[in-house]
């Protein structure tokens, strides 16, 4: 399997739906036909944010970064290839560079800024990333962390193959994959022991 060029990215069920809705191929830039603007409210990290008038085809990535100044999600390729822009919509990892803001609708968007607790405490994935000193340049890591978060929400004890598969859509130019893999395992263990502790109470 080399090198797995991910044509169009893997489509989550939700993205499939969106893709149908807007008849977008998810295989490249959002081609714009209409020039209209629309008013969009976005549910981000538990708050409803008004984006004002915005081109409905604006990718969620640029709405987050330019309008809401939530710059954790990063621009890498713009065509669903690198995963630097990964955020969660209703708990599922999506490539926000190829996800029109108008398609989010009522969906709950979670960005990396929304992971830590209200007291600022890092969650399990964030802590594992710090403890294992995963990052080199760090540019891909917000996307990696969001992909890992989505994986662990769906699968509390992923094996090596599950991790490889779930993380294959996220590129790290610096080559930190070995540490990312370890960090996902560490985060899974942290979440499990936290759950066990909760259950014991």
């Amino acid at each position: 399997m080399f090198p797995p060029a991910i044509k169009g990215g893997e489509l989550t069920p939700r993205a499939n739906k969106v893709s149908k809705l807007l008849d977008l191929g998810y295989n490249g830039h959002l081609e714009s036909s209409g020039e209209g603007v629309t008013t969009v409210n976005l549910k981000v990290n538990g708050e409803t944010r008004n984006l004002g008038e915005i081109d409905p085809q604006t990718p969620l990535l640029w709405a987050l970064r330019d309008e809401l100044k939530l710059v954790g999600a990063k621009f890498g390729c713009g065509i669903s290839q690198c995963g630097a822009c990964t955020v969660l919509v209703d708990g599922q990892a999506v490539k926000s560079c190829s996800y029109p803001v108008s398609a989010v609708g009522d969906g709950q968007v979670t960005t990396i800024e929304g992971l830590a607790g209200n007291d600022g405490e890092l969650n399990a994935v964030q802590s594992a990333w710090v403890d294992l000193d995963v990052a080199q340049c760090g540019y891909c890591q917000a996307g990696q962390i969001m992909a890992a978060e989505a994986l662990l929400r769906a699968n509390s004890s992923p094996g090596d193959d599950d991790i490889d598969q779930a993380m294959a859509s996220n590129l790290c130019r610096c080559g930190t994959y070995i540490r990312i893999r370890e960090a996902v395992k560490m985060a899974a263990a942290m979440r499990q022991s936290a759950e066990a502790a909760d259950a014991a109470e």
């Binding site: 399997m1 080399f2 090198p3 797995p4 060029a5 991910i6 044509k7 830039h29 714009s32 603007v37 081109d55 604006t58 640029w62 970064r65 330019d66 309008e67 100044k69 939530l70 710059v71 954790g72 990063k74 621009f75 890498g76 390729c77 713009g78 065509i79 290839q81 690198c82 630097a84 990396i112 800024e113 992971l115 830590a116 890092l122 964030q126 990333w129 710090v130 403890d131 294992l132 000193d133 990052a135 080199q136 340049c137 760090g138 540019y139 891909c140 890591q141 917000a142 993380m167 294959a168 996220n170 590129l171 130019r173 610096c174 080559g175 930190t176 994959y177 070995i178 540490r179 990312i180």
Partner: protein, 747 residues
């Protein structure tokens, strides 16, 4: 030869890399023409020289704070250490302050690290390149920490009325053991600030066994902010009233704007302005193009897609990989000017028992930093501020000042975390563009390159061609070695950065009869330093061909490599030490279990390369199936780079170099036809992903040599180690990178 001016191409990294300095002293260059037969022999190239500038730390005036130099500020509220160089993922924002903290005896938990301003008067050269941050700053940083520590001790001695030598320091405290008293550095700061700054040369530094911090695993100082998505990177900057800019250049480099549908673009929703910039004649600074300014990035990108430009391509690139390859094949049939010529290769070939030859090729590649180039710029009241992810901030200031027409003293560059560097951000074309656009815009702008811009206007790692010939005698000893190298030149005078062989190339000085010839083909697309410039491809060629000669002789490649390295000795002033080289080769071989019985279809390959003052050997274990699918099971790395500063960061660099090396050798290439780059995004530039990542075992030699950098030297041995392992596994000799060109893929 070309009206594209590459004036600055040699003035960025090469100054600071020993390899390039050596090259400048020795190179004769023959220029091959693609269209007609004409060779031009050039001599007397300007010597670069190694410019290591150490500024004497000067005390900064601040009565309440202890600030004996630019690296340290201690006051009642805490200890701040300043990180002077750009952070590009090589870890210097953590490792450089660690060196200060060690001699300061500050507890790492007490330290806050802050990125310093650009002040090369205070800090000396501030850049990230050539794996130079550690070796260039090691001594100055240690003395800076020791100076502050001495002042704190003096202050405590005065305070308690005891002798300074009765005091010790530990964990940000001065301790008087005899009385059991201790004081925090933060409590002593004001008094210490009044003490004279000691002469840095007078200070006693720690012995290695006294280190408390260095050599430990320390997590990066920005990690907590990173995992929260805080705005650390160049691309994350926002200013009040900021607009978003894009810049379209000619797809064939060197083309000029004849006309563009500017009115139509200006009428698009969200677009504020669109205008033509002529370029400043320097291809490394400002190429001609069309700038668009918009309310947000998406509007700018959409407008760029709607832009129609008529280009004047009369002086534009016609670069063609297929033509270059054909010309290189022709040129290697004949002799070229030599950069190395020791002994008598022809006589050796004539008298030796066995000969072999091979034509080695590697493609151009892109840096592909994951953060596309960008820069935020604000020109206001005759002064310019830049927020830039650059590896060479000083040069960025100079180019921006030039293009805006102000004094460099009117330019402030705020250095920001870089989303990868790999050499790309040594060149400040993107910051220069931002400066020029900001001057015209009159409001703060963020210039954003798309990924397509980034791939089309990179400064590529040049491809190259080597006709290799070698001989062994009846005892299996290597007797002759010839490398006919065809490289590229941008300026018609020198090989492109990273595309020149110098006198120190392997195996010069190690084999009796060596001849290395060098010829350059003219090339307009800009080429420049790419992680471990030169070494990243020469390692593949020379360590692969050495393996070929070992097999020709019917001998164990490990044994031949060690035989070639020979007796322990220093090769020239900046060359390798053969004893250290043999040490890492033996260590890697031992740890990888060289010589053990392997499963069917598996092979082990070994390679060594010396670059950026690092001695590194790697052993790869691979298996190859009948469909030429390669699985890299494990890579064992042994490195001798002196004492390790941050074990976690050092190991991360080694792991990353292996992954980068593997990614690049497996499937990455940038090709050119009609002057244009044929790849435009990651779907055509398939970098390695997690499922293909091998196990990597890292071993550091515990040595007392001065510490050297780790951003680069672990990359060059990877490709030859894997290719030699593939040969061992299946008998196919790889002579082309990426190996996908020879039909191989990753399992």
């Amino acid at each position: 030869m070309s009206t594209l001016n590459y004036a600055d191409i040699g003035d960025v990294v090469p100054r600071v890399t020993g390899e390039r300095a050596a090259l400048d002293e020795t190179v004769d260059l023959r220029i091959g023409k693609l269209d007609r037969r004409q060779f031009l022999k050039l001599t007397g190239l300007v010597g670069g020289g190694l410019m290591l500038s150490f500024s004497t730390p000067r005390a900064l005036a601040n009565a309440a704070a202890l600030q004996p130099n630019g690296y340290i500020k201690i006051d009642a509220t805490g200890i701040v250490l300043y990180a002077k160089n750009p952070e590009i993922g090589q870890g210097v924002k953590t490792s450089l302050p660690m060196i200060v903290a060690e001699e300061l005896d500050a507890a790492w938990e007490d330290v806050e690290v802050v990125q310093s301003a650009i002040d090369q008067g205070l800090y000396g050269a501030q850049f990230a390149g050539g794996s130079m941050s550690i070796p260039m700053n090691w001594d100055a940083l240690r003395r800076s920490g020791a100076a502050a520590r001495a002042m704190l001790v003096e202050a405590a001695a005065k305070h308690w009325g005891v002798e300074a030598d009765s005091l010790s320091t530990k964990d940000s405290h001065v301790v008087h053991a005899a009385s059991g008293r201790k004081l925090k550095y933060t409590e002593l700061a004001t008094q210490a600030a009044a003490m004279p700054v000691p002469d840095p040369r007078s200070l006693t530094l720690k012995k290695r066994d006294q280190f408390r911090l260095l050599g430990k695993r320390i997590t990066g100082v920005d990690n907590r902010a990173l995992v929260r998505g805080e705005p650390l990177f160049g691309i994350d900057q926002t200013l009040p009233g900021m607009k978003y800019a894009v810049y379209q250049k000619c797809p064939a480099i060197g083309g000029k704007v004849r006309s563009a549908n500017l009115e139509e673009i200006k009428g698009m929703p969200g677009v504020n302005d669109a205008f033509i910039l002529d370029g400043n004649g320097n291809a490394m600074e400002l190429l001609p193009g069309v700038a668009i300014i918009a309310d947000n990035t998406f509007a700018a990108i959409k407008a760029k897609r709607a832009l129609k430009v008529e280009w004047d391509e009369s002086d534009a690139s016609k670069d063609s990989w297929s033509h270059a390859k054909a010309e290189a094949e022709r040129l290697t049939n004949e002799s070229g000017p030599a950069v190395v010529d020791t002994g008598d290769v022809d006589a050796a070939f004539a008298s030796s028992g066995k000969r072999t030859s091979g034509f080695y090729t590697y493609h151009f590649v892109s840096h592909a930093t994951l953060e596309p180039q960008n820069c935020t710029a604000w020109f206001k009241d005759g002064a310019l501020d830049l927020w830039a992810p650059t590896q060479t901030p000083g040069q960025g200031i100079g180019s921006a000042a030039k293009v805006v027409g102000i004094s460099p003293s009117k330019v402030t560059l705020h250095q920001l975390r870089c989303g990868g560097g790999f050499g790309r951000r040594l060149y400040n074309d993107f910051t220069t563009e931002a400066a020029a656009i900001a001057k015209r815009a009159g409001v703060p702008i963020k210039l954003q390159w798309t990924r397509e811009d980034d791939m089309a206007y990179d400064l590529y790692r040049a491809g190259g061609f080597h006709q290799m010939d070698g001989s062994v005698d009846d005892d299996g000893k290597i007797t002759g070695w010839r490398d006919r190298f065809i490289t590229f030149t941008n300026d018609g005078r020198r090989p492109v950065s990273g595309g020149g062989l110098g006198a120190g190339v392997f195996p010069a000085g190690l084999v009796d009869n060596v001849r290395v010839e060098q010829t350059a083909l003219p090339w307009k697309n800009r080429c420049a330093a790419w992680r471990a410039p030169g070494s990243n491809v020469f390692g593949f060629v020379v360590q692969g061909f050495l393996d070929e000669l070992a097999h020709l002789a019917g001998r164990d490649p490990l044994e031949v490599l060690l035989e070639v390295l020979g007796e322990p000795r220093q090769m020239g002033r900046r060359g390798m030490h053969t004893g250290r080289a043999a040490g890492v080769v033996r260590l890697a071989a031992k740890q990888a279990g060289w010589g053990r019985e392997l499963p069917h279809g598996h092979g082990l390959g070994v390679a060594f390369y010396y670059s950026h003052a690092g001695h590194i050997a790697e052993v790869a274990e691979v298996s190859v199936d009948d469909d030429k699918r390669v699985k890299v099971h494990k890579v064992t790395v042994a490195a001798d780079v002196g004492p390790i500063v941050n074990l976690s960061g050092a190991e991360n660099q080694m792991q990353g170099s292996v992954v980068d090396g593997l990614s690049t050798m497996m499937g990455l290439s940038v090709t050119f036809e009609n002057g244009r780059v044929e790849q435009s995004n990651f779907d055509q530039y398939p970098m390695l992903r997690m499922p293909s990542t091998p196990d990597v075992a890292v071993h550091f030699v515990d040595s007392d040599y001065p510490p050297t950098g780790l951003g680069e030297p672990a990359l060059p041995p990877l490709a030859p180690a894997v290719c030699n392992a593939i040969f061992a596994a299946c008998g196919h000799r790889i002579r082309t990178l990426p190996i996908s060109e020879e039909g191989f893929s990753l399992a």
